[in-house]
Chain length 345, copies 2
């Protein structure tokens, strides 16, 4: 029995002690209606999706020093973030999160309390998102702490959000501000402290909020094309353009760049907002009529209004999909897609 307030080494707790404590944490879930038939403890979890729904499946792996840093975020924040990244992908499909499995590769030098806090961070977000942690795997990974999550959601087949459904004439919009998370990373990298403490930027990096309700409401309002922003606007918008075989015009002056970015980073704010990744806001396209419906629905649910940032256009010439940016001085610039290659850096 663990005495509250102590932290022990994993080798003293043992694999089975660890698994049993984690099981207690995940079973303290407050979610009752996820359709889970059998949770942690057998060879596989059993889940009964609601009749008539399609299952959305997404997986994302986070690795210490590449996707998070244990000196930048505490265990709960890292747990939150690892799950948020996955739930955000479900949100981007318009799906309602239901079940989650977690594969953890531990170095073996962590304390048991650190691991429990990681799960508590995941559980808190899972609870708020009406999802259950139903299983997983824990392995010894001396080379690097690794968190690999697969999340499952349900979506009505007529309300799916896809990347390949953008239509010429659609408005391009985002559900929230751009660049906050990248601003947070820059503050942490440069070890800068700011006058106001920058809670919004640090929180955007440490505990991003997946836009689950927004995704569901977009699908309900008639939107068919969306994705979540993980590689930055100019890294992700090209993926919609390529999948839908269209081009885009983006209006710089309409980008929702928060003042806190401009105050702290001056002219770099635009770069952070347009190329900085991991905002996990939804990027979507909608006809003007559908966009009005979205505004009305978001108002009814007291959600932040989406921001229109441009429009979908026909492809010109033979060059394939392109982004034309209308700059503040009214010049136009064809923007290099800023997608970011994890092996070529």
């Amino acid at each position: 029995m663990q005495v509250p307030g102590t932290a022990r080494r994993l080798r003293d707790v043992g694999e089975f002690g660890l698994i049993s404590a984690i099981r207690n944490i995940t079973e303290s879930s407050r979610v009752r209606s996820s359709g889970v038939v059998l949770g942690v403890g057998d060879d596989a979890a059993l889940w009964r999706p609601r009749p008539g729904r399609i299952v959305a499946i997404t997986t994302d792996t986070l690795i210490d020093k590449r996707h998070f840093r244990t000196d930048w975020s505490d265990a709960k924040q890292i747990g939150h973030r690892a799950l948020a990244v996955n739930l955000s992908d479900l949100a981007a499909m318009g799906a309602r999160p239901r079940t989650v499995v977690v594969s953890l590769g531990l170095k073996g030098t962590e304390t048991d309390r650190w691991v429990y806090d990681l799960y508590r961070g995941m559980l808190a977000l899972a609870d708020r998102s009406h999802a259950r942690i139903v299983g997983g795997d824990i392995v010894h990974s001396p080379g690097a702490l690794t968190i690999s999550i697969t999340a499952h959601g349900e979506v009505h087949p007529d309300r799916v959000l896809r990347r390949d459904q953008a239509q010429t004439g659609d408005i391009i919009a985002v559900t929230g501000p751009l660049g906050l998370a990248a601003g947070g990373v820059r503050l942490l990298t440069e070890k800068r402290t700011t006058v106001e403490g920058s809670p919004s930027m640090l929180a955007a990096h440490r505990t991003p909020q997946p836009r689950i309700l927004q995704g569901i409401l977009l699908g309900r309002a008639g939107v068919r094309c969306a994705m979540d922003l993980s590689d930055g606007l100019l890294g992700d918008l090209p993926k919609i353009l390529a999948a839908s075989n269209v081009s885009a015009e983006v209006v710089q002056a309409q980008l929702p760049i928060p003042h806190v970015l401009t105050w702290n980073f001056g002219e770099d704010a635009l770069e952070l907002a347009s190329r900085g990744g991991e905002d996990f806001e939804l990027l979507f396209t909608a006809s003007p009529e559908t966009f009005e419906r979205v505004q009305a629905v978001f108002r009814r649910f007291r959600l932040r209004q989406p921001t229109a940032i441009g429009s979908i256009t026909k492809i010109r010439g033979y060059d394939g999909p392109a982004i034309s940016m209308r700059l503040i001085d009214r010049r136009r610039e064809t923007v290099q897609p800023g997608a970011f290659d994890h092996f070529q850096r």
Copy 2:
């Protein structure tokens, strides 16, 4: 365009080149009836399970030098093995595999061809198992090559195999020989070559065969209790006993120990067969009548007959579940559960 026969460094191929080539491999699947609505390429995959079925979800992570070795197995074998470990968990639930997602953490020093072969190994087994690889994630993991898979299957709610359903009087049985995989690992560790080349032991380690059809047929024959053997008979049987709150008697002389183990390892053969892990045979319990039905069904499908190795008994006294082993000399021994702790070694 890759010239066949060349192998390139990942940094020359780039993340997007790699993902696009992998997508081509996974889309060459021959499986047509898995219910997949949308595969690789969007924020999440979409899958429609058959009406009335429950979804079984399992996840397992394999890490280089801990769960496989690139100098012991080639890329195709490692891909096969990583998927087999997961499909075996579905088999242990009596579920039919349907969809798979793969999270890959690459060191960055692999060649592109090695990665493609890994996927080809997975695809070949997925094809034979009627499952589709529908998505995944590729990250840069400088510390260790990591393969994390989540597999999804379907099972009729009345035909689920669980760990907590063993009944006093049940026969305990296994679907195949014990110890071959552990024998293969020992040969590789000791760099031993044997006269006969030991193909069965090496294959049991490198390319284990998940007992999918056996699991489905067990459920159909009325079996309710099973698991797959990953931590060895004396490591895994205690999990059934603890979940079902029963004890067991195992008859040493009935353990299906292949001759090749005895030839090569003499008296160690028993240890390898009873405690050696990763055989991925199914361990199940069934009433004598159900066991006869299993024998008949397996005969009809021309599957190897299951081997009865003991029986489920009541718990005696206050010590909780225990395994009593009847030895060849008719002595009895209470066996220490041999479960193996990955953090305490």
